[in-house]
């Protein structure tokens, strides 16, 4: 249990600890499972696993940074913004996960293309090869879908700490990294990898397809849980 005095006195540690506290609470459990399964899609391509994990973490940090900027500059009515993100973002996630799951399985086709603001074909190619854009966007999306615990720790503890420390950049970024610690550890474990996993993947001629289908099942299941939770309870 973190001590508030420690959180307030050790610069930056508090932000990271709050993020970790958020990541291990029950409410973001489903989103952590989705992120882990998405990152493990690339298990056959080790370097892409780690870059996916880091991109996911950066996505979360970017989202928290943006919300922090809106909060600190008082450009929006914070209670309304919080209510909107807690209520509607989670409602979007359920159907979206189901659609993505069906896409990973190959049931439906989505004509993906990176937005035109990406400056060059080389960057586009790198983003695509290293599987960065997808996990980054997933990180943004899952961070914006605030649950009661993340909303409370973000607006109730992190923002006051950041304002007091006059660090409205560093604190939200560290909070984002903290919230993605389980996914980062998972990605690191997959990257350093066990020999067992290597042997399993080597034996499977269609490892990519199997990993994709496993991810598809996780997305559809979690999507159904979200739909039940946010539409029917």
């Amino acid at each position: 249990m973190p001590d508030m005095i420690t959180l307030e006195t050790i610069p930056f540690v508090g932000a990271l600890v709050l993020g970790i506290l958020c990541s291990i609470s029950p409410c973001p459990l489903a989103s952590n499972i989705v992120a882990m399964s998405y990152v493990s899609r690339n298990a056959a391509q080790r370097s892409a696993v780690l870059s996916s994990g880091v991109a996911y973490s950066l996505g979360r940090s970017t989202a928290y940074l943006a919300i922090s900027a809106l909060t600190v500059t008082a450009l929006v009515n914070i209670p309304y913004l919080s209510e909107f993100l807690q209520k509607y973002m989670n409602r979007i996630l359920g159907p979206l996960f189901v659609i993505l799951g069906l896409y990973f399985w190959g049931v439906i086709k989505i004509p993906w293309s990176l937005p035109s603001f990406v400056p060059s074909a080389k960057i586009t190619d790198t983003l695509s090869r290293q599987k960065i854009a997808g996990p980054f966007l997933l990180g943004v999306l899952l961070a914006l879908a605030f649950c009661p615990v993340s909303a409370a720790l973000f607006w109730g503890s992190l923002i006051p700490l950041a304002v007091e420390a006059q660090s409205t950049f560093g604190y939200p970024v560290l909070f984002g990294i903290g919230t993605s610690i389980p996914v980062l550890i998972f990605a690191a474990l997959l990257t350093t990898g066990s020999r067992l996993l290597d042997l399993m993947l080597a034996r499977l001629s269609n490892a990519g397809k199997i990993l994709n289908r496993a991810t598809a099942v996780v997305f559809v299941c979690v999507g159904i849980i979200y739909i039940y939770q946010y539409y029917f309870t």
């Binding site: 508030m4 209670p79 109730g156």
Partner: protein
């Protein structure tokens, strides 16, 4: 000399009785409400927080609860009559708010106990924090 001493004694006694009476009156009229604000959707952590906070208040302030000086109220802010609390207390998350009112029912101060979420995993620390803030807010009420 004796008369002077008796006079001073009587004067001090009168002042003492007068001021004790005033304090008792003020203390009797001031009130504190511990609100737990939630939404229609109740998560596991949210119901735990309500349970722990309620328990902390019930266990530590039985006499004040009986006399009505302290109240514990749980409200759904998504229901129409309670919507105004969102703006009144700038609620961005499910919150425990302590509100102190004077004898006329005018709110004197309020405090969002936002650290309850950090302490949620430690029931005892959470209870200590709630009790400490309730006591601090009651003491801060200006006496008439």
């Amino acid at each position: 000399m004796l008369r002077k001493t008796i006079l001073i004694f009587v004067l001090v006694l009168s002042i003492s009785i007068f001021s004790t009476g005033n304090t008792a009156t003020a203390a009797g009229k001031e009130s504190l409400t511990v609100y737990y604000f939630h939404t229609t959707y109740r998560c596991h952590s949210c119901t735990l927080l309500e349970e722990y906070t309620r328990e902390a208040v019930m266990k530590n302030f039985p006499a004040e609860l009986k006399s009505g000086r302290i109240k514990f109220v749980s409200l759904n802010v998504e229901k129409d009559p309670n919507r105004h609390y969102v703006q009144d207390y700038q609620l961005s998350f499910k919150s425990v708010v302590v509100s102190v009112r004077d004898e006329k029912g005018q709110e004197q101060r309020w405090e969002n106990l936002s650290k309850v979420w950090v302490y949620l995993r430690d029931r005892d620390t959470l209870a200590k924090y709630v009790v400490e803030r309730v006591r601090a807010n009651l003491k801060e009420v200006p006496r008439a």
